[in-house]
C-alpha cells in the first residue's frame, strides 16, 4: 500500500508535524515523521475517522488524543472501508456534495415546509385543542374578557328588552346546534365600532354598534334580526371549531419552527418576526371561512338562508371602509367570503 502524506498533531503541543502515513488496513496505522525523528504505531481500532465535510482534509482521531490530517483525495479506499466512523454521516455528505442530492434537498425543504405550515401545524393544533380540558379555554376566556373590558369595551347601552329578545333568539340557535359548550351572549359598547367576538370558553360578545347596524334591517328582503343571528352562528362556529385555542397553538408552533430554522443567526430575527405574522393572517382567514361555512349550515337549517349575512358583509365593509393589504388582513375580502357562503348554503340545501 502506497504511503500518504499527512500532518500530525499530538494534542499536547500547538505544533503540526509533517508525516508519512501507511497502514495495514484492519490492523495498524504507521505514522512516521518526515524528519525521521519519531514514529508512531496505532492499532486500527484506536482510530476514528471524522465525518467528511465539504472538500476539507479528513481528520483521523487517535485514542491518545493525537490527530492526523490527510487530504480527502489522498485517503485510500481500502482504509475507508474498515475505519471506524467512515460511514458516519456519509449519506449527509453525499447529499451535500452531489448535484442531485442538494437539488433534491431544496425541493424537499420547500415541499415539507409548505406541508408543515399549511397541513402539519393546523392538524396538530386541532388535535391538541380537542384534547385540552374545557377549564383551560374557560380560564383563557375569562382572562381575555377582563382584558377586553379594560381596553376596548364599556357597558352596553342597549335597552333591556332588546337584549332579552336577542338572548331568546340566541338560546333557540344554541338549542338547534346541539353542542355541550355553555354558550353565553354578552353585549358591550365598543370603542372599535361594529364587531362581534368569540371567546374560546363559549362567550360571544356583540357590540352595541353591530346590533344597531345590522338589527331590524330596513332592507325588505331580509327579515328582522336574521343578519344578527347569522353573525352569532358565525361566532358559534369559531367556538365550535376551537379556533381561538388552535390559533394560539399554531402561533406557538410557528415560533418554534422559525427559531429552529433561523435561530442560529441574528440577522434572521427580522424574517423570523415577519414570517409568522404573514402566515398567521393566512391561518385566521382560513378560520373565517370555516366559521362562515358553519353559519351557512345553521342558517339553512333554521330557514334564515345566507343572504342576510351576505348583506351584512357588504354593509360592514362599507362602514369599516379601508382594507389595508388583502394578504395582511385577518379577514378575507368580502367578495370571496360571499361566494364561499353561497356555495356552503347550496351544499347544505342539497343535503
Amino acid at each position: 500500500m502506497e504511503p500518504v502524506a499527512g500532518r500530525y498533531y499530538d494534542g499536547r503541543r500547538a505544533e503540526a508535524r509533517d508525516v508519512v502515513v501507511s497502514a495495514r488496513p484492519g490492523h495498524e496505522l504507521r505514522i512516521a515523521a518526515v524528519d525521521g525523528a519519531d514514529e508512531w504505531r496505532v492499532p486500527w481500532r484506536a482510530i476514528e475517522l471524522e465525518p467528511a465535510l465539504g472538500r476539507l482534509p479528513r481528520r483521523l482521531r487517535l485514542a491518545d488524543g493525537a490527530m492526523v490530517e490527510i487530504a480527502a483525495a489522498d485517503l485510500p479506499q481500502a482504509w475507508l472501508r474498515s475505519l471506524r466512523g467512515s460511514r458516519h454521516l456519509a449519506l449527509v455528505h453525499w447529499l451535500e456534495s452531489a448535484w442531485f442530492g442538494w437539488s433534491a434537498a431544496i425541493v424537499g425543504v420547500v415541499v415539507l415546509g409548505v406541508l408543515l405550515v399549511w397541513v402539519g401545524l393546523p392538524w396538530t393544533a386541532d388535535r391538541v385543542a380537542r384534547q385540552l380540558p374545557p377549564e383551560v379555554s374557560q380560564r383563557l376566556s375569562s382572562e381575555a374578557l377582563i382584558l377586553l373590558d379594560r381596553r376596548m369595551f364599556e357597558p352596553s347601552q342597549l335597552p333591556q328588552e332588546r337584549k332579552s329578545a336577542l338572548r331568546a333568539g340566541f338560546a333557540e340557535l344554541v338549542e338547534r346546534v346541539d353542542d355541550p359548550t355553555p354558550y353565553r351572549l354578552l353585549f358591550r359598547h365598543s370603542r372599535v365600532g361594529p364587531n362581534a367576538f368569540a371567546l374560546p370558553g363559549g362567550e360571544i360578545i356583540m357590540t352595541d354598534q353591530l346590533v344597531e347596524l345590522l338589527g331590524g334591517d330596513p332592507d325588505a328582503s331580509v327579515a328582522g334580526d336574521a343578519a344578527l343571528y347569522l353573525v352569532m352562528a358565525h361566532e358559534l362556529g369559531h367556538i365550535h371549531h376551537a379556533h381561538g385555542m388552535r390559533l394560539l397553538l399554531q402561533r406557538a408552533g410557528l415560533a418554534v419552527v422559525a427559531a429552529i430554522l433561523f435561530g442560529d443567526i441574528s440577522s434572521a430575527i427580522g424574517l423570523a418576526a415577519a414570517l409568522p405574522t404573514l402566515l398567521d393572517s393566512g391561518y385566521t382567514r382560513a378560520f373565517e371561512f370555516e366559521a362562515d361555512a358553519y353559519a351557512a349550515r345553521v342558517g339553512v337549517a333554521g330557514g334564515l338562508g345566507v343572504e342576510p349575512m351576505v348583506a351584512a358583509l357588504s354593509r360592514l365593509e362599507a362602514v369599516s371602509g379601508q382594507q389595508p393589504l388583502p394578504w395582511l388582513s385577518t379577514h378575507p375580502a368580502s367578495a370571496a367570503r360571499i361566494e364561499a357562503l353561497r356555495r356552503a348554503a347550496a351544499d347544505a340545501e342539497a343535503r
Binding site: Y9, D10, G11, R12, R13, A14, E15, A16, P51, L53, G54, L56, R59, G65, A66, M67, L89, V92, L95, E96, S97, G101, W102, A105, I106, G108, V109, L112, G113, L116, L132, V136, R139, L140, A252, V256, I260, L261, F262, D264, I265, S266, S267, A268, I269, G270, L271, A273, A274, G321, Q322, Q323, P324, L325, L328
Partner: protein, 379 residues
C-alpha cells in the same frame, strides 16, 4: 475607536511581535448546500437533527477559519447538545403552555430559569471552550460557578433597583468572566476591558437611540397630519368622496409598515452597533500570557467598523427577506468573513511548540460533566 487602535499599534511596535491575520476559506455556495441538507433533515426528524446540524455548521466555520495557516475545529458531541436542547425545550414549553394546564406554572418556570441560568452560562462557557480546538489543542474555561451566580443572578437582580444603570457594569463583568477565564495550553487569558468604556458606549448608544426615536416620532406626526388633511379633504369634497377614499385606501398602510420597520430597525441598529464597539474593545483588551512567565504575550486587535458592519448586517437582512430565507447561508458567511478579516493576532509564534500544561487534565474532568446550553463566542 481611534484611541484603541493607536494603543494596540504602540504595543505592537514596542514588542515587534509577528502579526497574523486569520482568514476564512469557506464559501457561501458550499455552506448553502450544507445548510439546505441540514434544513431537510431537521424537517424530516421533527427537529431532532438540530444538534447534528449545529455541530456540522460550526465545524464548517471553524475548520475554514485559519490562524497562521492552521484551522480551528469544533468537536462537540451532538448527543450532548441534544440533552441540553431537550431541557431548554422543556423550559420553553412549560413557559408557553404551563399556564394552560395549571395556573401559575409560568411564574415558577421563570423563577426556576432565573435560578439555573448562571449555572447554564457557566456550563456552556466550559462546553464551548473545551470543544474548540486549534492545532488539536483544546481551549479551556476556568471560571468559577460562584462568579457566574454573582454576575448572572446577584448583579442582574440589582437592575430594577438601579434603573438599569448597572447594566454596562454587568456587561463588562460578563466579558471579563468569559475572556479572563479562557486558557490555551500553557497560556492564560487576561481581560483588561474597562468599566468606563462600557458605560461610555452604552450611554452614547442610549443618546443615539433617543435622538433617533425623536426623529422618527416627529416624522410620524408629520405623516399622520398629512393623512388627516387628506381625509378631511376627502370629506370636504363630498361628491368626489368615492375617488378620494380610494386614494386613502391605497396609501393607508404605508405609515404603518414604515413605522414598524423604523421602530424595529432603530433598536436593532443601535444594539448591533453597541455589539460591534464592545466586541472591538474586548478583543483589544484581551491577551494571553504564558503561565509562570511575564515575557511572552499574545495580543489581539479587532478593527470592525460600525458603518461597514451595519451595512453588511442590514443588506443581509433585506436579501434574506427578499429571498424568503434562501440568502441566509451567504449572509452568515459574509458577516463571518468580515469579522475574521478585521481581527489580527500578534505573537502567535510564541504559541507554537508550547506544551499543554494544566490544560489536558482540566479538559478531561470537564468532559465528564453533562453539558447543556450551547454557546458561541464567535471568532
Amino acid at each position: 475607536m481611534d484611541g484603541l487602535q493607536l494603543e494596540a499599534g504602540e504595543v505592537v511596535a514596542a514588542r515587534e511581535d509577528v502579526r497574523s491575520m486569520p482568514v476564512f476559506t469557506g464559501s457561501g455556495g458550499e455552506y448553502f448546500r450544507i445548510w439546505i441538507v441540514n434544513l431537510l433533515l431537521c424537517l424530516l426528524t421533527f427537529g431532532f437533527y438540530l444538534p447534528w446540524a449545529r455541530v456540522r455548521t460550526r465545524r464548517y466555520f471553524y475548520r475554514h477559519t485559519l490562524l497562521d495557516g492552521e484551522a480551528f475545529d469544533y468537536l462537540a458531541d451532538p448527543r450532548r447538545l441534544l440533552v441540553g436542547y431537550l431541557i431548554i425545550g422543556a423550559f420553553l414549553a412549560l413557559y408557553l403552555f404551563g399556564d394552560l394546564i395549571v395556573f401559575g406554572v409560568t411564574l415558577v418556570v421563570v423563577l426556576l430559569f432565573g435560578l439555573t441560568f448562571p449555572w447554564l452560562r457557566y456550563k456552556s462557557f466550559g462546553f464551548f471552550a473545551r470543544n474548540s480546538t486549534w492545532q488539536n489543542l483544546r481551549l479551556r474555561f476556568t471560571g468559577r460557578l460562584g462568579d457566574a451566580y454573582r454576575i448572572y443572578l446577584g448583579l442582574m437582580l440589582l437592575i430594577p433597583f438601579t434603573f438599569g444603570l448597572i447594566y454596562p457594569y454587568i456587561a463588562q463583568q460578563s466579558n471579563r468572566y468569559l475572556f479572563g477565564n479562557l486558557g490555551f495550553g500553557a497560556w492564560q487569558g487576561h481581560f483588561e476591558g474597562r468599566v468606563g468604556t462600557f458605560y461610555a458606549v452604552y450611554l452614547a448608544a442610549m443618546g443615539i437611540f433617543i435622538g433617533l426615536l425623536f426623529v422618527v416620532v416627529f416624522a410620524f406626526l408629520g405623516l399622520a397630519l398629512g393623512f388627516e388633511l387628506l381625509t378631511v379633504d376627502a370629506v370636504a369634497n363630498g361628491g368626489a368622496a368615492g375617488d378620494d377614499a380610494e386614494v386613502e385606501v391605497d396609501v393607508a398602510w404605508l405609515p404603518v409598515v414604515g413605522l414598524g420597520l423604523v421602530f424595529y430597525g432603530v433598536p436593532l441598529a443601535v444594539l448591533t452597533g453597541v455589539g460591534v464597539v464592545i466586541r472591538n474593545h474586548c478583543w483589544n483588551h484581551f491577551e494571553l500570557r504564558q503561565i509562570g512567565s511575564d515575557d511572552a504575550r499574545v495580543r489581539f486587535d479587532s478593527r470592525l467598523r460600525v458603518a461597514t458592519y451595519l451595512g453588511i448586517f442590514f443588506s443581509n437582512l433585506l436579501l434574506i427577506v427578499l429571498t424568503v430565507g434562501m440568502f441566509l447561508p451567504w449572509a452568515k458567511v459574509r458577516l463571518h468573513r468580515y469579522r475574521v478579516a478585521c481581527l489580527s493576532v500578534f505573537g502567535t509564534e510564541h504559541l507554537r511548540a508550547t506544551v499543554a500544561a494544566a490544560g489536558s487534565e482540566v479538559a478531561a474532568i470537564g468532559e465528564s460533566a453533562s453539558d447543556l446550553l450551547d454557546f458561541e463566542l464567535g471568532l
